[in-house]
Symmetry: C2
Subunit: 462 residues, 2 copies
Amino acid sequence: REKFQSISAADFFYRNREIAGFDNPVRATYTIIRELVENSLDACEQYSIMPDVRVKLIDDGNSIYRIKVEDNGIGVPYEQVPYAFGQILFGSKYTLRQSRGIFGLGGKMAVLYGQITSHSTVKALSSTGGFEKYFYELSINVQENKPIIRKKEVTPNPGRWRGTIIEFSFEGDFVRAKPKIVEYFRQTAILMPYANIIYISPDGVLYRFDRITEVMPKPAEEVKPHPFGVDIEMVHRMINASRSTTLMDFLANNFHRVGVATAMNFLKSIKMSPDLNPKTMDSKDLVKLVSRMKDYGEFQPPDAQCLSPVGTDLLKAGIIREFSPEYVAVTQRRASAYAGYPFVIEAAIAYGGRVPITPADEMLVLRFANKIPLLYDLHSDVAMKVIKRINWQRYKLDVKTMPIAFFIHICATKVPYKTVGKEYIADRPEVEYEIEWALKTCARELKTHMGKKERAYIAQRR
Amino acid sequence: REKFQSISAADFFYRNREIAGFDNPVRATYTIIRELVENSLDACEQYSIMPDVRVKLIDDGNSIYRIKVEDNGIGVPYEQVPYAFGQILFGSKYTLRQSRGIFGLGGKMAVLYGQITSHSTVKALSSTGGFEKYFYELSINVQENKPIIRKKEVTPNPGRWRGTIIEFSFEGDFVRAKPKIVEYFRQTAILMPYANIIYISPDGVLYRFDRITEVMPKPAEEVKPHPFGVDIEMVHRMINASRSTTLMDFLANNFHRVGVATAMNFLKSIKMSPDLNPKTMDSKDLVKLVSRMKDYGEFQPPDAQCLSPVGTDLLKAGIIREFSPEYVAVTQRRASAYAGYPFVIEAAIAYGGRVPITPADEMLVLRFANKIPLLYDLHSDVAMKVIKRINWQRYKLDVKTMPIAFFIHICATKVPYKTVGKEYIADRPEVEYEIEWALKTCARELKTHMGKKERAYIAQRR
Ligand SMILES: Nc1ncnc2c1ncn2[C@@H]1O[C@H](COP(=O)(O)OP(=O)(O)OP(=O)(O)O)[C@@H](O)[C@H]1O
Ligand SMILES: Nc1ncnc2c1ncn2[C@@H]1O[C@H](COP(=O)(O)OP(=O)(O)OP(=O)(O)O)[C@@H](O)[C@H]1O
Ligand SMILES: [Mg+2]
Ligand SMILES: [Mg+2]
């Protein structure tokens, strides 16, 4: 009759790799570069290391390409390397703090794609800056979702080098992927004027983005879950992991911005005893606790210490380097939240200079999420939805005929991606609201500038 | 430093449930119904059982709903019930044959959502028609991705009942989900005029679709992989699982429509020895074998025995029942393939009768994939892309002012879904081509009918 089977997470993403952005060799070429670069940038920024990232893509013929990415990041600890690159759903970004990585999947999908299209192993060299550096050659055992260590070498690290070098081959299509790859690097550099990024393409072109500042944003710090962001499973796990013997103690020590006083008041308001042992709570009490947590209006909203926006100065500097605009209006909204997850919107509108005038029904919209440039599915994205409904005439901005570029960046502990391939952002009313106000703020500033410029011009002509 | 962690597949889909269609209570209400109904319909059709499916959604207050789905399908075997409903990435549809289910995820995500929003367990009663029926009450251990059996009961089954009843509670939003739910049932019934479907909504309305025929399409049969659809991982696994000691034998016994003669000719053409032991092949040979398999022009294309289209008669009957159109043109294309996966496109265009005239810039387009109605993301779907570029004027069809409905159904062993939530279909040139020709065939037929009608009208007026 029916043949039942369970499959590993690696097998699932192998069979359904188009869902993770590996639809075909063109898209795979782009996604592989993206995933590896994002890992390198996270490894630097999280530790306030000014990033030096070097990407080399070599054409080995027969549609086989070799990718090599080198960074000066924090490195991967010795025992973790095989899992970091060889086990799907493994990583260090399952925490409540902003980072590019979130799924524990991207780097491994890239390695897996190389393995299934060219039988390539992955070579990883890393050190956390200690006395030794270590080299691994790995494959992924897909059916069991575990790494296969082909080779392992520990060597002295006299220079105390710290960083990671990863290399493997895969079947790609560079020619068709090229425009998107170059665009990806350009846009990455806009948000990172403090990073040195080098990309050497198979056709021998060297793209270099040199740092123009040594100022970096403060890294994101991990926070505890916020009461508005919980569900029964989460609270259940927190109770099991906690040593608290009273509900009061449990609440005061496990939630973002909830201390003794807040916990007391909350429990009073829902008529639950502070001395109740959370581990012996019955199902009815657990359901009541969780659902009332979500509606309690007196909890402090989430704050932004778990986020790491670019900041208006750095964003401006990056835009100026790329577009030399006549004017750029930049803004950063205060932290907001959706479903208990804090987020911050940064936006900019640039005018003139090297900003191109786009064809009639197109617009130049650069979207970013946790500093990742989003280059696909613009029209499904929440940002476009907002842009389309703003009445730009009110700000004297004719998006059809003027050289205008829009920039929208969402920083969040949990970016509401619609897909595993991180292609675009789902609609959330709170996010839409913030994007709209950020863009209107920039539009107003630009209108003021255009007004001054016009009056100056008129004055000059007299 | 960095805290490394591995998470289970259940934990991954719990944390990222919006990626599976569980964004919010409205969408979850719809997705839960969809996933359970699709499981029931698969369980019937695969065994040529005329489906009797009954769905009841009860409002228990406080946004908590109880769902109960009952079918007369093949049932779930006793030992498999806990895993079928309690372990993510487990199922019987990991085979190369058309079915609604493909991921081994849907039913469990529904159960998981009920668990995390209402702490509900799932109650499942099933029998494969034997002497016993069995009842389980289960939860999912999310961190370890395994079922927790709360209760288990085996009782006699004197009536030899065969089928499955599944029930659990969840936090939903019926009012907002209602239009989509009703539409889902209507569209499901269009492709299944041989099914009895009953849906009882929380506001007490009974929706009934009674069977109008006892003819059913022949079920899909499992096939072996086609040479064009393989990659190195797949061939590697097949070699390990096979007992063949020669490459010739391996190829002749493991691939769809490849027998001894074809295998011989292929190996000759790529200059590989038929006597080579596949288990001792080196990496270079494996890569060569797989890449040459994909380009060998003499392999028979995949055939359609692994597919189970509706068929033009049944499709017409279903459309007539729903819309009583003045005319409906229906067509089924011959089997085609993309990347070695066979697929068949069925399409129809209905005119007049109860087909509404849609507002100026909208069109009535009903899309289906393996008989699943797709109700979201119309504008990202490949079907819409094709419809927009057809010049309907050539067929004298003014889609703006005429009451016209388009129907597109793709049957495939691997539907190229873009998302885990099965919302829309990715672009594939072969699929686009087939959809375009299917629609044009229907358009031509409709044009002929309109022409005859017009001449008859003119003749009558004289
Ligand atoms: N270049 C690197 N430097 C330091 N650590 C790295 C590097 N690349 C990967 N890692 C480590 O390996 C882990 C797994 O990376 P992977 O890309 O598979 O998942 P992720 O980045 O956590 O999430 P996502 O799937 O969203 O990218 C990371 O969490 C990180 O700890
Ligand atoms: N009503 C049912 N009758 C018979 N078998 C069922 C029923 N519901 C579920 N099953 C079994 O449980 C398995 C798991 O179902 P689940 O919905 O989780 O995954 P799937 O249907 O295989 O794939 P998908 O995630 O695409 O829906 C199915 O493959 C099927 O074997
Ligand atoms: Mg990553
Ligand atoms: Mg299913």
